[in-house]
Each structure stands twice: as structure tokens, then as C-alpha cells.
């Protein structure tokens, strides 16, 4: 009865939808509430930010690799940040490091990665017309845009952008006297991050709510693609950790601008040792608050990449993902542990060694779910019928970085070893491999894999291969040697190593080598950007399901319109990993194919599920087109 009524209602409603007023240019492409458009906005912003962020790193690599080099040719861009002797201004060097970290972590790998793919894939893969609230979703992007604008402006002010490191530890960041970058640049940094956090919260509540409320009929949590599980857990992580950064930032704003002493106590500054009036605060407190966000942030960056990798590897190995439930459990384990390990960033702050050993213990436990994931990727590939598409190569590259960067995590997680390695290039090498490069590869894999769905065209495969090999080799050439420099004790964030006896004459050629490799890798990215832009307009037209994939997004039209599916949203009967199922006609069975249509490949317990199909189909009660709106 109810279904019949519902169906007539849909027909009426769909008809109504087809007669929507044509939207103006502004509503359609700029202030759009459509999740696909918002995802593309995030993607384009992320790509622009990544070019800026990586360029900054190339500039400071020039300084590190070639300390005597004349950088006059950068004067047209950097102006007086190139000083009279033709070298990079040391203050600006610190700003470069800070902005590289901030931009890459927050604007590229948080907003650009999960902003793009959570927005794009959640409604398409769970079978929803759009996000739960398109309006909040639009707000989320535009808060991010505002945050971006403020951060971008801070790059161009006279005193320079924030320069206290991306972790902005007080007192350096709290006292404008401490450094030029702690003046207006730091204020803008805090304003930008506050806006960014608002954007993350708006996005996050939308993702979580959409996954819970708007799954299509039959799409239980145990049939969700691992991408969606990853985006869901990422959103939960962000929802809980970003507000703590908001509190920390607000308290820092008060310390900077209104004379409070939350993080400041007994400070003497300048040549004269002038005493500041602040007493009673604790800079360590900021570190605790910061890393309560900062550590989960690592997984906010990494989990979406891992989720997409699961999907891409299973699709292109033509095999079910190995250990679907183990993958979910390990992601949940990682998400939980992410909140109780933050103090491993603070082993050398004078923390009680006993407390340090607890945090060390918890940190090392993360190796277990991480190893489960790594082994599951490898066992999925094992004896698979592998198709090396560019997306697949980047996913395999991710697994490689995840393992080689993760292994050094075991070393750094030891509080005793961390005393030697803390804040050296060993740390830099570790996190660039495990969260930087791995997540960037996840992002690139995602773009190559879902480009046909996003833009209706294929990216060029040959250019994709070239891009992959140059980047993969380049990244290892940059970060592998860096471990040695770190073990030798070279501290990170230093302008030059020429003034210390222990660093003066060693590793100068290795530093030059790393810089050359960095420039090489950066140059290789233009292959991708060319490929992206070219394919956007001139790429081969995409078929509906180019990768012969099982998930729901490939059941939509090649260029899905408003509401994603014309007519009814498909129902889901099976998990998303029925690849190469014995007995099946094709080597893939999409999620929307009922068991009653595949008797040749059904397992005994699946035959029993045929009886449920009618009930599943009837339970079509959350279609947004049928709700009054």
C-alpha cells in the first residue's frame, strides 16, 4: 500500500523536478548546493593550493640544498624577502616552512582530499540524491573559501605570514615581539583556521548524517563500500578533534590580543631581558590541546586515502577486498587510538617518563591495525588479475609509502629513541612518506579513478603512467636520504647548517641531491596538471562504467544531473566486492544486481537472501525527492 502511494508520488515528483526552473549561472556553478559541483570546487581549490604549497617547499629546498646560491631570480615574486646579498631572508625561510605545512596539511590534504571525495562519493555510493543538507554543504565550501582567502592574503603582507611552524606553539606565536611572522601574519593564520574549522564542522555533520540517514534501500552498514566507511570515520574524527583546536586557537587569540596569560608565564625578552607581566599560563597546555587535534588530523588526512585505495585496489585486482570486516575494524581501531596517543609528539617536553611509556605503548598498538590494512592490500593483490591503470599504480604506490613510512613510525614511537630523533629530518622524512606522500597518492589515485564520473571524460593513461613513475621515484629520492640526515642529528626548520661544527661539512651534497629531487618531483606534477586540464576539455568521452566497478556511482548516467539518478534510486542487494565470483558471467556483479538474477554464482546463504529482496525494494522511504522540500 505504502509503496504504491510512494511510487505515484515519485512519478509526480520526478516530473516536477524535470520542470525545475533553469538555475542561474551563479546558483549552478558558484553558490551551488549540488554535492558534485561542491566536490569539484574543493578539488580545483585543492589543486591550486597544492601548487602554492609545493612551490613554497621548492623555495626553501633551494636554500637548504644550495646555501650559497644567488636567488636574485626570485625577486620578481618574493621582492624584499630576497635580501641584499641575494639570499632568502632567514625570517621568510621560517614563514615558508610554516606555510608549506599549514597549506599542505589543512588546505590540500584535508579540504582538497576529503572535501572533494567525501562530497562527491558519499551521496553517489550510498545511493542518495544529494547530501542531507545541500545548503550547509555550500556554506561549508564557502567558509573554506574564506579561510583560503585570508590565508592567501597573509602571504602578501609586509611582515610576512605566520612563521612559528604549522603547530604554532606559543610563546613564539603568542608574542608579536618574538618574530615578524608573529605579528599580523599570525593573526590572519588564526582567523583563517577558525573559519576552516567552521567549514570542517559543517562538512562533517553533513557527511555523518548523510551516511546514517540517506543510504538507499538494502545499503546496510555491512554493505557500504570501504570508501564510505573511511569518509564516515574521518568525519567523526574531525567532528571531535577540530573543536579542541578551536578552543586552543581562541585562547591563543586572547593571549595575543587581549593580554591574558593562558599560555604565557615568566617571560623575559629582548637584549635587556625585559620581563613581561604574564604569569600563570603554560605553553605545554597549548601543545596538549593542539596535538589532541593534531594527531587525529594525521588520520583525517590518511583514512580517506586508505578508503579510496581499498576500492581502487579491489576493482583493479578484480578480486574481493581481502578482509572487508577486518578493514572496517582496523579503521575503527585507528580512529579510536588516534585520540589517545597525542602526547607522543611531546616526549621531550619534560613529560613524566612513566606517562611517556603509556603513550608509547598506545602509539605502538596502532601498528597492529595499520599492519592489518597493509597485509590486506597485499593479499588483495595476491594472485589478482591486476589491471595497472594509473589509479591502480598510485594506490599501490600509497601502500608502498604507507609501509616504508609506517616502519619509521615504530622507531619514532619509542620515547627513548625519540629523544635522539625528535625534531630532526628523520621525523620530516617519516611523516612526509606516511601521511604526506601516501595521502597525496590517495588523492591522485582518486582523481584518476573518478575523473570519468566527475567530468564525463577519461584522463590520458600514458601521461598518467609517466606522472606516476616520475612522482613515485621522485618522492623516494627526496625522502629516503632524508632519514640519514635525521639520524645524523640535523634539526628541522633550520635556515642553514653552516654555523655548527657537527653539520658544517657533512651531507651538503646529500642536501643538494634532495633539493634536486624535490624540484624534479615538483616539475613532474605539471604532467598531471596538463593531463587534468586537457582531459577536462579534450579527453576521450567516458563510458558509463569504465573500470567495470560494482559501486553505485557507476549506475548513474555518464553526466549525472540534479538528484543523480533519473527515476528511482537503485536498491542494493550485495556487498560492493563481488569481483571474479566463481560461476558468474562477468568478472563483476554490481551492488544493484539482485541475487535472484545470479543463481549461477550464488552461495548457499545468498540464495536464502532472495526472499528478502521484495522487502528491501519496498523499503524506499528516504528518497529526498519524495520529501517536501
Amino acid at each position: 500500500m505504502a509503496t504504491v502511494a510512494a511510487n505515484t508520488a515519485t512519478v509526480a515528483h520526478v516530473a516536477e523536478h524535470e520542470h525545475h526552473e533553469p538555475q542561474s549561472f551563479w546558483r549552478k556553478y558558484v553558490f551551488s548546493e549540488d554535492h558534485k559541483t561542491i566536490a569539484k570546487q574543493y578539488l580545483i581549490s585543492g589543486i591550486i593550493w597544492s601548487v602554492i604549497g609545493i612551490s613554497l617547499s621548492v623555495m626553501f629546498r633551494l636554500q637548504l640544498g644550495f646555501p650559497d646560491m644567488k636567488l636574485e631570480f626570485l625577486r620578481p615574486i618574493l621582492g624584499n624577502w630576497i635580501n641584499e646579498s641575494g639570499k632568502l631572508d632567514p625570517d621568510f625561510y621560517l614563514a615558508l616552512v610554516t606555510m608549506h605545512g599549514t597549506i599542505m596539511v589543512f588546505f590540500v590534504l584535508t579540504a582538497g582530499l576529503s572535501g572533494t571525495f567525501s562530497n562527491f562519493l558519499i551521496p553517489l555510493q550510498v545511493g542518495a540524491r544529494d547530501m542531507a543538507s545541500g545548503f550547509l554543504n555550500m556554506l561549508s565550501y564557502w567558509f573554506f573559501f574564506l579561510a583560503s582567502a585570508v590565508m592567501l592574503v597573509s602571504l602578501f603582507i609586509e611582515t610576512g605570514p605566520a612563521a612559528g611552524g604549522w603547530v604554532v606553539y606559543p610563546p613564539l606565536s603568542a608574542l608579536p615581539q618574538a618574530h615578524p611572522g608573529s605579528q599580523l601574519g599570525m593573526t590572519l593564520w588564526l582567523v583563517s583556521m577558525a573559519l576552516f574549522i567552521v567549514s570542517q564542522l559543517l562538512g562533517g555533520i553533513n557527511y555523518i548524517t548523510t551516511v546514517i540517514n540517506l543510504r538507499t534501500r538494502g545499503m546496510s552498514f555491512s554493505k557500504l563500500p570501504l570508501t564510505i566507511w573511511a569518509f564516515f570515520l574521518t568525519a567523526v574524527l574531525g567532528l571531535i578533534s577540530f573543536p579542541v583546536l578551536l578552543s586552543a586557537a581562541l585562547l591563543l587569540i586572547f593571549d595575543r590580543s587581549f593580554g591574558t596569560s593562558f599560555y604565557l608565564s615568566e617571560i623575559y625578552i629582548g637584549q635587556t631581558g625585559e620581563a613581561l607581566p604574564n604569569v600563570g599560563g603554560s605553553p605545554i597546555l597549548f601543545q596538549h590541546l593542539f596535538w589532541f587535534l593534531g594527531h587525529p588530523e594525521v588520520y583525517i588526512v590518511l583514512l580517506p586515502a586508505l578508503g579510496m585505495t581499498s576500492e581502487i585496489i579491489a576493482t583493479n585486482a578484480r578480486k574481493p577486498i581481502f578482509g572487508y570486516r577486518a578493514m572496517i575494524a582496523s579503521m575503527m581501531g585507528i580512529a579510536f587510538l588516534a585520540f589517545i596517543v597525542w602526547a607522543h609528539h611531546m616526549f621531550v617536553t619534560g613529560m613524566n617518563p612513566f606517562l611517556g611509556s603509556i603513550f608509547m605503548f598506545l602509539t605502538l598498538i596502532i601498528a597492529v591495525p595499520s599492519a592489518v590494512k597493509a597485509f590486506n592490500y597485499i593479499t588483495t593483490l595476491w594472485r589478482g588479475n591486476i589491471r595497472f591503470t594509473p589509479a591502480m599504480l598510485f594506490s599501490i604506490g600509497l601502500v608502498s609509502f604507507f609501509i616504508s613510512g609506517g616502519l619509521t613510525g615504530l622507531i619514532l614511537g619509542n620515547s627513548a629513541l625519540d629523544i635522539q630523533l625528535h625534531d630532526t629530518y628523520f621525523v620530516v622524512a617519516h611523516f612526509h612518506l606516511v601521511m604526506g606522500a601516501a595521502s597525496a597518492f590517495g588523492l591522485l589515485a582518486g582523481v584518476y579513478h573518478w575523473f570519468p564520473k566527475m567530468f564525463g571524460r577519461m584522463m590520458d593513461e600514458k601521461l598518467g603512467y609517466i606522472h606516476f613513475w616520475l612522482t613515485f621515484i621522485g618522492i623516494y629520492l627526496v625522502f629516503f636520504p632524508m632519514h640519514y640526515i635525521g639520524i645524523a642529528g640535523f634539526p628541522r626548520r633550520y635556515y642553514a647548517f653552516t654555523s655548527y661544527d657537527f653539520t658544517k661539512n657533512i651531507f651538503t651534497d646529500m642536501n643538494s641531491f634532495i633539493s634536486l629531487a624535490a624540484i624534479f618531483t615538483f616539475t613532474a606534477q605539471w604532467v598531471f596538471i596538463w593531463n587534468f586540464v586537457y582531459s577536462l576539455f579534450k579527453g576521450k568521452k567516458a563510458p558509463q562504467n569504465p573500470w567495470k566497478s560494482n559501486t553505485l556511482e557507476w549506475t548513474t548516467p555518464i553526466n549525472p544531473g540534479h538528484g543523480n539518478w533519473p527515476g528511482e534510486i537503485p536498491a542494493v542487494y550485495r556487498w560492493p566486492y563481488d569481483y571474479s565470483k566463481p560461476g558468474a558471467k562477468d568478472d563483476f556483479i554490481p551492488q544493484n544486481v539482485p541475487y535472484s538474477q545470479t543463481p549461477e554464482s550464488n552461495l548457499p546463504h545468498e540464495n536464502e537472501l532472495i526472499g528478502l529482496e521484495k522487502e528491501i525494494e519496498a523499503q524506499n522511504l528516504n528518497d529526498q525527492f519524495k520529501q517536501p522540500h
Binding site: 508520488a9 543510504r215 534501500r217 546496510s220 586552543a248 586572547f254 620581563a275 528516504n622
Partner: protein
């Protein structure tokens, strides 16, 4: 429109609580609309904002000694050497000048705020009955409670800022010389009642909570206006009252913690 309304009711009726099929997709599994879920998730996130602030409070507070009669003398007096006893700081009531009434005024404030939660519950309940008159009545009481709380907080802040008549003499080091000075009241840099950090935290955390109450009052007024103009009657349900109600209860709950931290321990 009639057809869509029917579907909507079906959607809410057929999802029984924790039915196994509730999680099979195609239905709102917790029988809650997306807006209500979003409000809950926002509140979880806001919980962490306040938790971070209260952890900050705890950490800074316990880096200071408490007043100990054996060390600092039998009679309590304000000093920036130790954290003050709350009963001695918050002991004033409007119109009762010079009378020592520890925590009476803040007790009344707290009672008013909690009572406004009760009237909010009644408004939500009236919404379930689709009783517009009662929704209006109880929303008004809730708004009144919120405004009274904010007014009381303004008075308490202003009393805290102006200080006692005698002030507190503090000694500080200026250019290598110890200088004595009387200070009255508190601001973000100095504080007659105790260490400056005490005033910093008081202003920041009660201020942050007060901002939440203020936005709650604004939302309540909006809801009252929309209920009074019959929007929710036309819409067929009063769910907005419920959603804003969730926020309002949350703000009250946070106050209970703020109250405990600042006034009781």
C-alpha cells in the same frame, strides 16, 4: 503536496525503534530527521570545545596552591599567591550591599536557567500536541528565563570588574623595586581576587558560555516568532522547537559544569 505529505508520515511511522530492517537502508534508522541528527552531532562537537576549555581551567588552577589557613593565616584574604575560595569571591547580591551571601546570587541564576529548561520541555511537549497557544506560552517563558540569566550574568560580571570597596594591595616588582599598589576588581591582566589567570579563565569561559546562551535566546525568539505566525502549524509539525530545545538543554548542561568548576570546587 498531499501525496508527499503522506509519504513523509509513512517514513516516520514504519521505522520502528531498532527494528533489524531499520539499518537496512531506505529508511531513517534512528527515526530522526537529518536536522535533528545534525543538531546532535553539532552538540557532540561543542562538548569537546567546552571540554578543552574546562581542561585548561583545571590545569591552570591546579598549578596554583589553594588557600591554606595553616600557611596564609586563619582569616581568608585575597592574594595572587593562591587560588581564591569561590564563596569569598561570589558573595554579593544586587540591592543587598555589604551583606556576605556566598553563592546565593549565582544559585538563583542557575535555578533560573534550569527552570528555563523545564519550560522548554513543556514547549516541546506542546509542540507534539500541535498546541500553538501552549508552544507560544512556554517559549516565552524560556526566552524570559534566558534573558534573565544573561542579565544576571551581566550584573555579576560588572560586580566582578568593579571589585570590592577596599580593593586588594598587591606588591609587584617595577624596575627592580618592590612597589605596593591597591587594585580594585578584575580585568584580563590584573585581578584583586587572586591570580590574574583566575579572572582570565572566568571571563573567557563564562563569556563563551554566555555567547552560547545569547545565540540560544536569539534562536528561541526566532522559533517563537515562527510558531506564533503559524509556520509550524502549516508545516504540520513542531520539530524545530525540538531541535532548538536540544541546543537549549545542552547550554544548560554546560552551565552545570561551568558552575561546578568555578563556584563549587
Amino acid at each position: 503536496m498531499a501525496a508527499t505529505a503522506t509519504t513523509n508520515t509513512v517514513a516516520t511511522d514504519s521505522a520502528q525503534t531498532f527494528d533489524k530492517k531499520a539499518w537496512m537502508g531506505g529508511v531513517e534508522p534512528m527515526n530522526a530527521s537529518y536536522g535533528k541528527l545534525m543538531m546532535w552531532f553539532f552538540l557532540i562537537s561543542d562538548t569537546f570545545t567546552f571540554s578543552a576549555l574546562l581542561v585548561t581551567y583545571g590545569l591552570i588552577r591546579y598549578s596554583y596552591p589553594a588557600w591554606d589557613p595553616a600557611i596564609y593565616g586563619e582569616v581568608f584574604k585575597f592574594s595572587n599567591l593562591y587560588w581564591p575560595t569561590p564563596e569569598k569571591v561570589y558573595n554579593a547580591v544586587p540591592f543587598l550591599h555589604g551583606i556576605d551571601a556566598p553563592l546565593i546570587f549565582v544559585g538563583i541564576m542557575t535555578f533560573i536557567l534550569i527552570f528555563s529548561s523545564v519550560t522548554m520541555v513543556l514547549a516541546v511537549e506542546a509542540g507534539h500536541r500541535m498546541d500553538r497557544k501552549d508552544v507560544e506560552k512556554y517559549m516565552l517563558w524560556t526566552i524570559l528565563g534566558g534573558i534573565t540569566f544573561l542579565g544576571s550574568q551581566a550584573w555579576e560580571w560588572s560586580h566582578f570588574i568593579h571589585g570590592t570597596e577596599t580593593g586588594t594591595i598587591i606588591s609587584e616588582l617595577v624596575n627592580g623595586q618592590t612597589v605596593q599598589r591597591t587594585i580594585f576588581g578584575a580585568n584580563l591582566t590584573e585581578n584583586q581576587y587572586g591570580p590574574p589567570a583566575f579572572a582570565d579563565l572566568f571571563f573567557f569561559i563564562t563569556g563563551f558560555h554566555g555567547t552560547h546562551v545569547l545565540s540560544g535566546v536569539v534562536l528561541n525568539i526566532l522559533i517563537f516568532y515562527r510558531a506564533a505566525t503559524g509556520l509550524y502549524d502549516r508545516r504540520g509539525h513542531y520539530e524545530m522547537v525540538e531541535k532548538v530545545g536540544l541546543y537549549w538543554h545542552f547550554v544548560d548542561l554546560v552551565w552545570v559544569f561551568v558552575f561546578t568548576f568555578f563556584y563549587l570546587v
